[in-house]
Symmetry: D2
Subunit: 301 residues, 4 copies
Amino acid sequence: MTLAAPEKATVASDYSAEEGRLVIHGRDREGIVSAISSVLADAGANIVSLDQYSTDPHGGQFFQRTVFQVPDFRLVRPDLEASLERVIGNDLGLDWRLIDSSQPKRVAIFASKTDHCLLDLLWRHRRGELPISVQMVISNHPDLADEVRQFGIPFFCVPIRNGDKKAAEAEHLRLLQGNVDLIVLARYMQIISADFIRDVGVPMINIHHSFLPAFIGAGPYRKAKERGVKLIGATAHYVTEDLDEGPIIEQDVVRVSHTATTAELTQRGADVERLVLSRAVAWHCEDRVLRNGNSTIVFAS
Amino acid sequence: MTLAAPEKATVASDYSAEEGRLVIHGRDREGIVSAISSVLADAGANIVSLDQYSTDPHGGQFFQRTVFQVPDFRLVRPDLEASLERVIGNDLGLDWRLIDSSQPKRVAIFASKTDHCLLDLLWRHRRGELPISVQMVISNHPDLADEVRQFGIPFFCVPIRNGDKKAAEAEHLRLLQGNVDLIVLARYMQIISADFIRDVGVPMINIHHSFLPAFIGAGPYRKAKERGVKLIGATAHYVTEDLDEGPIIEQDVVRVSHTATTAELTQRGADVERLVLSRAVAWHCEDRVLRNGNSTIVFAS
Amino acid sequence: MTLAAPEKATVASDYSAEEGRLVIHGRDREGIVSAISSVLADAGANIVSLDQYSTDPHGGQFFQRTVFQVPDFRLVRPDLEASLERVIGNDLGLDWRLIDSSQPKRVAIFASKTDHCLLDLLWRHRRGELPISVQMVISNHPDLADEVRQFGIPFFCVPIRNGDKKAAEAEHLRLLQGNVDLIVLARYMQIISADFIRDVGVPMINIHHSFLPAFIGAGPYRKAKERGVKLIGATAHYVTEDLDEGPIIEQDVVRVSHTATTAELTQRGADVERLVLSRAVAWHCEDRVLRNGNSTIVFAS
Amino acid sequence: MTLAAPEKATVASDYSAEEGRLVIHGRDREGIVSAISSVLADAGANIVSLDQYSTDPHGGQFFQRTVFQVPDFRLVRPDLEASLERVIGNDLGLDWRLIDSSQPKRVAIFASKTDHCLLDLLWRHRRGELPISVQMVISNHPDLADEVRQFGIPFFCVPIRNGDKKAAEAEHLRLLQGNVDLIVLARYMQIISADFIRDVGVPMINIHHSFLPAFIGAGPYRKAKERGVKLIGATAHYVTEDLDEGPIIEQDVVRVSHTATTAELTQRGADVERLVLSRAVAWHCEDRVLRNGNSTIVFAS
């Protein structure tokens, strides 16, 4: 039957097609979208999805995320990279990153004793909801070892002995370096040093248990109770040297009433924390989050 | 038929029944609920709705709001008040207030040039959604005079001449004293002096255009844009001497993205502000809001 | 020190105090609240929390949930029950239930292959968030056996052989009868027969993966995609003979866009399902949910 | 200085720059994004914002909305249209529309006696929040005439005499034809005939006071009360021949409890209705809403 032929053809080309992401950032100027789509079209790539944003079309900052399919991506990649560097890098003066969508981000999760954010990530990971490969879990306490290992994931306990954070961070670096693309602090109750942030060389996402910038620092649910707020929230943000001041990726809130004790706020907040953190990790690992100074552009629907 | 008799009686007593509210606050101890309901039952009052809350059943703060119906409320009121003072005031040592539900709170609204919160209150008032009687609108600018007067409500422009706030506040007091039970600051862009708060002698509700305690003070939408938050909010609170630090009555938020400019945040936030303020005013005027130090108990469903 | 004495006394009486719940339902009439609180006061019980609701103060349906503390609850319980039956049952003609708050409800969870609602309940149970004791998990598939048993909970696989539901339900009854106070259908993909509902004799809570009454029956996420809705939801309800028509306990929604595939709706919806189901189970097991015909009264904050 | 020159040039061209929107729809195929951006670049247009979506990159339906700036849009428009017809229309076989962003959509609003949706639109219109020009308000009742005329907008009362809808619709057509680009039914309580929908030739947006597809038809708040739902909602949709079955543009919900009467549901729902309708009108009039069968693609952030 003739009708079947094109359908088969479509399926056949689908199997050999592979997907890539192109993320671009730099000073806005005329013709960027057209130049990028031409480079991709010349490489035989079909744009599947395109998001762009400019802080100001006249000299602002330009951000674009393009998802494309191209047959034999690995084969054509070197040529595509050369074209991108010539057109996007040199001619237009923009930063660009090319990502193979089939490669999940390698992730280390840090936790302490609280398990809800950690378990939620491991469970979503197992269900295939997150485009990540969890390489290890690191904790300053041994409590969660069994839970983690039941998911088939290595658990390393790195206690902070005699308050010696430097030694612990050195051990962290030995475990992490070269092995991960992202660190997720899933209610890890230790402050990260500026040295570590610099040395580790990969982004870190933290979940803070308040609607930042409200209730920075320790004890946000207790502070929320004292202030008598009617909503409590959680914030996922990139870790910077300034505690709880890094670029916000995602936030959400839940309604509470005067009857809730601090313990109940903590419990209700836990549900928001795990939702917010899992969204932030998913979006980051799909390259949907672009940093713009101390803010983020999030190309998510 | 015998069955018909009590039903007719019920209907008949319904016509002459009137509704009151009893609001109680003080140190918790055993037997309060029982004592209050006995006093009401002895007065022939039928409890229609009862909300109570205790910060701690062993010596914490106790709060109760009871709505009751009683035939000929105005006639029995003196006797009921005497019983309440004896049992609730003297024996139990609690503060109590008795309110005639049929009496709407007399309200003055303060505004500046921004109209959305003011108009929303006036609309709801006209639609009969709010148990209030708007006595006057006071503004430091003349811009909204026509709008207000179309609702049949007096508008008084009290400009602040040469920065002389004291003179303006004196004029406010002359207009307000004895005439209102509540002042609503519907985006009134002036700081209220401690003297005025003390002298005016009625509660004041303010709408702050952020999710407090985030972004206290001026320019919250600009600050929200700079911080890159993913939700913006509004907070209705009682006015105290400490700017934006008074007891919170109600809050809500709306999701925003990186694409929103400060002007668009301002516009989207306006919708939250007017919703939050109208809820706070309705709840206050139905005596559903009880102050507990710097927090509020809100008996609202 | 004299100051210490009353504090010690309070603590001492606190240790022997126990907590009960009294749930009342029936035709509204004058004096109910007063009568109930008198019975409790006479028994030496201190009301900790009281919620009541009447569909109509003149002859409507009256609902009340009272939490009280009383020393030596088990000792005084028989006398209290006698008083309640005399005053509440006989004199006022109301139904009442007295519950010992320290006794968690015994729960069986039914599941099929989908794990998110089941695991979420087991996690919360382990964290102490739910006032339940999970007695067993029953499934028509063996897939989740290991997961469940890691929580130390019995797992029974009752497959439906050759479509013989009657045999399977007979097996369910043998496992359940006398052992549980509540059955939770955590995405159990089998229709429950009217016979089973009658014979099992305990309430059943189901989670339906849509915002009822929209998208009754199978495939709600597919239907939601076809209809192009902008929010998807989940509904926890009591199971009745009419599929997806039982009294609703709790509902919630999440925003989606045109980009979401049916698979993505299913994934996003799973987060709502588990939140909604856990709330409904918690509220039911705290005796906060009272049935009123085909609706529910939910005394939750 | 040479560096200054282009910057000045940019500013100069900015003054004469104008903004257009290009909306495209059709069968997806490779190279569309590239082809469109080339046509725009060749016309000297700078892409300010681009949204696209494909139901399936292999032969699905493709949708794109592009906002661009171009100097002297009116002058270059004929040439641009010729290029678009050649490349987009003929070569790629896609439907396209070119819109001058500076031209607000001309709108007629239909209402009956309920004012909240109508007043909200008029008020947002006056504030400049909506890119529309309200040409007239048509009602089957005279009640809202004064309200509307205070906004400086013509009000036409077209009563339905002796149930003769045909005569009323004929009068509507005389008023509307050639004068409007959009009709908004702001709680207009009359069913629109299939003939009218066909003859009027412009899109119609209706606000339905429920979360469709729940509670289709009359009395949704009463039905919601009977079903005991825990959230109530509103839905803005395009009007089609099938009552309440047209493509959904926007929906939202608000939480309610068992205490709310049908009247209170109606009141709380009114707040959701006006928010949902105003969003749908704004998005439609910014050409952000594209129809895809009985669904919509909404390019809104």
